[in-house]
Symmetry: C2
Subunit: 409 residues, 2 copies
């Protein structure tokens, strides 16, 4: 008898047959005596269909109306899943983000949840009903429909789990858990039984794509027990743990993350005076370009070189901004490269083990891979390399840190 929040993404509810299969899965938990709140996304393809309708009308669709439009996708799914549950004799009731209400700020298409009413949900659960909630959407204080941005259904699930103090928030996906790295790149990639929030955060932001990063942050902040499982296969999945009590037994490195969506820009010969970094990044962020890595090395002859990475889609725009900056700062020159990849080793075990970075650099050197940029945090080391070496680097690191072997118990 637990209170579970279960989230099913677009692929898991992509057809009527799959919706029926999900209903049967949910019913099994209900039959065991669990209280279940289900969060669903739009049927796969539906959100893109709606977005292209919008783009046929406006290049830059009106933000308020865009949310009115795309939020219908999840609304369709909650109705269909509730019907499927009812047809199995499992009492169910659906709620849109507005109906609950999931109150957000008014940043349309990337709104943030501010508060969730749980009264109706509690009543339904007490009445033995499965509650089916539209993910990805909310409502402002004034009643305007908002969306949380792509992948926001995970955030809805975690926020609901927090508000309801659920025993577990289960994110059902098309993978059976979190892996040491992408199994498509490394054959020996292994499912992790558990991973810490911080590691997951680094893995997600670095492109592991299993969970939305904001949902992981949320889960950590509100102590929500999070589990990643496969929608249509049985199995324990991967538990995202809050505590690090058995940290000593953790391997140094839990996984290898990578990302090919980045591009780097370098400004050379920047006058090395206070405030220069903000004079570079200010205009970049004003242009709504998100920056990932930022590296500035020691200066030479009172000038320095400044490098940062952006999403590859923003490369062109970022170059234009940088050209302007070079002029304004009287820097020497700038260049850029979008044929790069980022590879990172992630693990809370790094904290207590020296020499992890060294082992990483040695492994890459042994394969003749040149490191262009290095950036480190407490639980990860990231390097930028030429894109063509990506797979080679990931495989080399996966075996250097013995990730294909089960950790000693």
């Amino acid at each position: 008898m637990a209170l579970l929040v279960q989230k099913f993404g677009g692929t898991s509810v992509g057809t009527v047959e799959r919706i029926k299969a999900i209903a049967e899965k949910v019913k099994r938990f209900r039959d065991q005596g669990d209280d279940v709140v289900v969060v669903v996304s739009a049927m796969s393809g539906e959100t893109n269909r709606l977005i292209s309708l919008a783009h046929e009308i406006q290049d830059q669709p009106e933000a308020r109306e865009y949310d009115v439009l795309v939020s219908t996708g999840e609304q369709v799914t909650i109705a269909l899943l509730s019907m499927a549950l009812e047809s199995l004799g499992c009492s169910a009731r659906s709620y849109t983000g507005s109906q609950i209400a999931i109150t957000t700020d008014d940043a349309h298409s990337k709104a943030r949840i501010q508060k969730i009413e749980t009264e109706n949900i509690r009543k339904d659960l007490d009445a033995g009903r499965v509650v089916v909630v539209a993910g990805f959407q909310g409502v402002t204080e004034k009643g305007a429909i908002t969306t949380l941005g792509r992948g926001g259904s995970d955030t809805t699930a975690v926020a609901l789990a927090a508000a309801l103090e659920a025993d577990e928030c289960q994110i059902y996906t098309d993978v059976d858990g979190v892996y040491t790295t992408d199994p498509r790149v490394v054959e020996g990639a292994r499912r992790l039984d558990k991973i810490t929030f911080e590691e997951m955060l680094e893995m997600a932001s670095l492109g592991s794509k299993v969970l939305q990063i904001r949902s992981v942050e949320f889960a950590g902040k509100y102590n929500v027990r999070l589990r990643v499982l496969h929608s249509f296969q049985e199995g324990p999945g991967t538990l995202i743990t809050i505590d690090e009590e058995d940290e000593m037994e953790q391997p140094m490195v839990s996984g290898i993350a990578f990302n090919r969506d980045e591009a780097k820009l370098t400004i050379k010969g920047v006058p090395d005076i206070p405030g220069v970094a903000s004079r570079i990044l200010g205009p970049v962020s004003a242009a709504n370009i998100e920056v990932d890595m930022i590296v500035q090395n020691v200066s030479e002859d009172r000038t320095t070189d400044f490098t940062f990475t952006v999403h590859r889609n923003d490369f062109q725009r970022a170059q234009e901004v940088v050209a302007q900056i070079v002029e304004e700062l009287g820097a020497r020159e700038h260049d850029g490269d979008n044929k790069i990849a980022k590879v990172s080793i992630v693990g809370v075990g790094m904290r207590s083990h020296a020499g992890v970075a060294t082992r990483m650099f040695e492994a890459l050197a042994k394969e003749g891979i040149n490191i262009q940029i290095i950036s480190t945090s407490e639980i990860k080391v990231s390097v930028i390399i030429a894109e063509k070496y990506l797979e080679l680097a990931v495989r080399a690191l996966h075996s250097a840190f013995e990730l294909d072997q089960l950790p000693a118990a």
Copy 2:
């Protein structure tokens, strides 16, 4: 400078191109200085797509969830039309039935409007915005989404016009007005410049299909000036008038309506005792079968024959109910026929002119058409005939009442 409520149906907003064309039309009114509230249906085909998804899951979809599902259709349209208006530089804002709020009872999929908040709409109009409202939907006091049933967007438009005390409620359709009869049946069918509410009510319920009957009732009740126009052609349309001040100049008969969707059931040899009619119609209505005409003639030998008509789709079920009734009442027998059609002459002028029915029966007799059932009201005479004579009857009546000629001014 008028306040207009304009309603566009599914065909008028069936593609992105049409939505853009509607936006341009609406903008022209706005540019003239009119305040405009637009009510739209789902894009044509969309509601059926959603319904078939529901039916893939449940034969009899859960009523509450069904409304959650199908109401998304109009939500998509309001967003797209608002975007289209904005892209023309015409400020616009969309509202779902819940957002306004259009409060209804909780009879899902055939809910009735109880009250409409106009505060937000007024604010938007005052701010120079076009207000775009989802037709066909509302919300219960408890916040559940409801729909008004098929065609309910007309009702939404009229109810909004009443609540806002609009100068005119314009229903845009794929015809340029109300005709004396169906132009596909009678070549000489003529567009009426105006028609009274009562006539329109009889025309609509008898199958003219231009307007939903409930919206006409509503318009009459709340003195809403209603006009039927073509979505993509210019023209004055047909005004549905409230007053009958110039009634004396009206022709006796304004139009010929007809309907092939009916079936008749007759119970013969029913004991002619008080309360027998309700003992027959009680079980029929309990089975949720709507009855149209009811005819009982004088009795003979203390028994009588009782005939009523139902929608052809309900014929099978009605026969089963009737078989049961025959047994319970000790009636002699029952039979039925679904190869029938109803033809009606409609006109407020009938009130002051005798002999209208006679002229009708003569015209049918001249063509050798046998009348099976007759039913009359103050402003209409309806007959049931064999379906095969339908077109012949409509043409004969159209010329017998000189409907192809303009009325004397």
